[in-house]
Amino acid sequence: MSVKKKFKGLSDKAVGWLFIGPTVLLLLAINIYPLVYAIKMSFTNFYANKIGREPQFVGLKNYIKVLNKEAIWEKMQVTASFMFWTLLLQAIIGLGLALLLNRKFKGNELLTTLIVLPMMLSPAVVGVFWTYLYNPQVGLFNYVVNFFYDLGSFDMIGSSTLAPWAIVIVDTWMWTPFTMLICLAGLRSVPNYLYEAAEVDRASKWQQFIYITLPSVLPFLLLALLFRGIENFKMFDMVVELTSGGPGSATELASINLKREAFEKWKTGYSSAFAVILFVTIFGFGNVYVKVMNKIKER
């Protein structure tokens, strides 16, 4: 310790605060302050478009309103089923692709990079160009489907039964590489001697997969799903551009509904309460999930 004092210039402690300070201050100002502000507004009947009108304290009224509104539960259901199907498909396809890529054939790296491309693109712009692919008159997607199985004319975006699948397909197309990459890292982290020992013990390939591969990949897969779960719970941009929540409210996810209440109807107090509820939900689920994930890792 005493050695450090010989160095010239600021002490490490001062440098530490100097370096961390700006980041923490900025986060407090642009992230925490707005959040606290939103919590405060959630207890009032504030309308952000009515300047000069003094908001009144209404207690828990907004929260009760949100939780008693049937439409909100419908949105939550739409969000939940979107999350369920996207995560399920991305887990299965992503893990499958990772297992295949792990066979280290020629051109492996190049193919991985190509497969990864969709997830780096702007979700909003992806939403825009999929409206073209899904176009019922001229869309490539519709053409290809009809080529293999004649469905006649169908409208992925315009039909309330198909639209939820339209967003699931695009999200899966875009984000399967994410689970794939993370699972691939998991597969590569399995030490070879485990398989060698299993071979010596005459374990079949299937047994090796169940008892060695799967348990080693599982923590990685769960981590990938955690990231995707948080992102898809917040999902906004791609779906807004693809279906804008429609038809009716068939694909109106929680975030899209929140945007409508906050920026179209300007019910600031009410929408803040909804935002706080969403935020608590995501945090709560996230925490429970991390605990479960750590338990699985420890095993």
Partner: protein
């Protein structure tokens, strides 16, 4: 029995099967992107023909429409005009239209650039400082602070958008480049700190300690020894921040309208009145996605780290 290869190595048949399936997947997954690029080189009629045309006569109509505003004119009026000065005027005239001026696309694109570069620089700079401190010093409540920084990324953007909207209105930052730069800097900070901390952890402490024994102060050692060592990590982090700012839509659509609007909220509006100008949409999309695709290829070795905030390092 074949003993020439290790029993761990997959057989050459299973490798070939795996390769075949992966190639099929790669082709399918790239079709939507390639289709958009192809559409950008079609003319408007070809883009709305059914069955979709795979072979077509290339046209730059989409790009011309992307960069210009046009208005439809009567045949008599068009005949009364002097002959077109250049190829793109000719192209527009053949559609019985005249060019009325440049479109907003370039402005929106450069807004994306300015806000992207500005916020990337700021978040990488601030992130590198914080990451260094977290990596080297004993900071009180270090884990809590790091988790706090990460947790800011979990906020649904819409949840904080209203307060930020009100705050920006008061401060005069609404619809300004500076406002968007600050906002994206903050959103990217969590990623920058977490990623850069990982990269800095990998640089041996002994380097800067040696420099400090030679008479450098802590600050000098950081700027002259650590930063150059961390350059690869800093570049990778910068690209990730840039891609995020480039792609961001929710804040852009809610907080900007004219002055500081970026390309993502603008691109859907290119479609035009008839809703048929797919080549122009294709052109805008292609120009917008191209930088990201190039960046992805540059980044490929660090991709995993970036998308998991440094949690998985391979």
């Amino acid at each position: 029995m074949d003993t020439s290869r290790s029993y761990l190595e997959p057989s050459s048949f299973s490798k070939k099967m795996a390769a075949a399936i992966i190639i099929v997947y790669a082709v399918i997954t790239l079709i939507p992107i390639s289709w958009m690029v192809m559409t950008s080189f079609k003319n408007v009629d070809s883009a709305i023909s059914y069955p979709p045309e795979v072979l077509f006569e290339p046209s730059l109509e989409g790009y011309v429409n992307l960069f210009t505003n046009r208005s439809r004119q009567s045949k008599e009026y068009l005949d009364s005009l002097p002959p077109p000065k250049n190829w793109y005027e000719e192209l527009v005239r053949s559609r019985e239209m005249v060019i009325t001026g440049p479109s907003k696309f370039l402005g929106r694109y450069s807004n994306s650039m300015i806000i992207g570069f500005g916020s990337t620089f700021a978040s990488v700079f601030l992130g590198a400082l914080a990451a260094y401190a977290f990596s080297r010093f004993r900071v009180p409540l270090k884990d809590d602070l790091l988790f706090f920084i990460l947790s800011t990324r979990m906020f649904p953007p819409i949840a904080v958008a209203v307060p930020i909207f009100i705050m920006y209105r008061k401060l005069g930052l609404g619809d300004t480049h500076l406002g968007m730069i600050i906002l994206y800097t903050v959103v990217n900070l969590s990623l920058a700190v977490w990623l850069l901390k990982g990269f800095m952890d990998e640089i041996p402490k002994e380097y800067e300690e040696a420099a400090m024994i030679d008479g450098y102060s802590r600050l000098q050692a950081f700027f002259k020894v650590v930063l150059p060592q961390a350059m690869t990590g800093i570049a990778a982090t910068a690209i990730f921040c840039m891609i995020f700012s480039w792609n961001e839509y929710a804040f852009a659509v809610l907080l900007t309208q004219f002055n500081a609007q970026t390309a993502p909220p603008f691109i859907p509006t290119i479609i035009g009145e008839g809703g048929l100008d797919w080549p122009a949409i294709g052109a805008g999309t292609t120009l917008f996605l191209l930088p990201v695709m190039i960046f992805t290829i540059i980044l490929r070795k660090h991709l995993l780290r970036g998308i998991t905030f440094g949690a998985v390092r391979k």
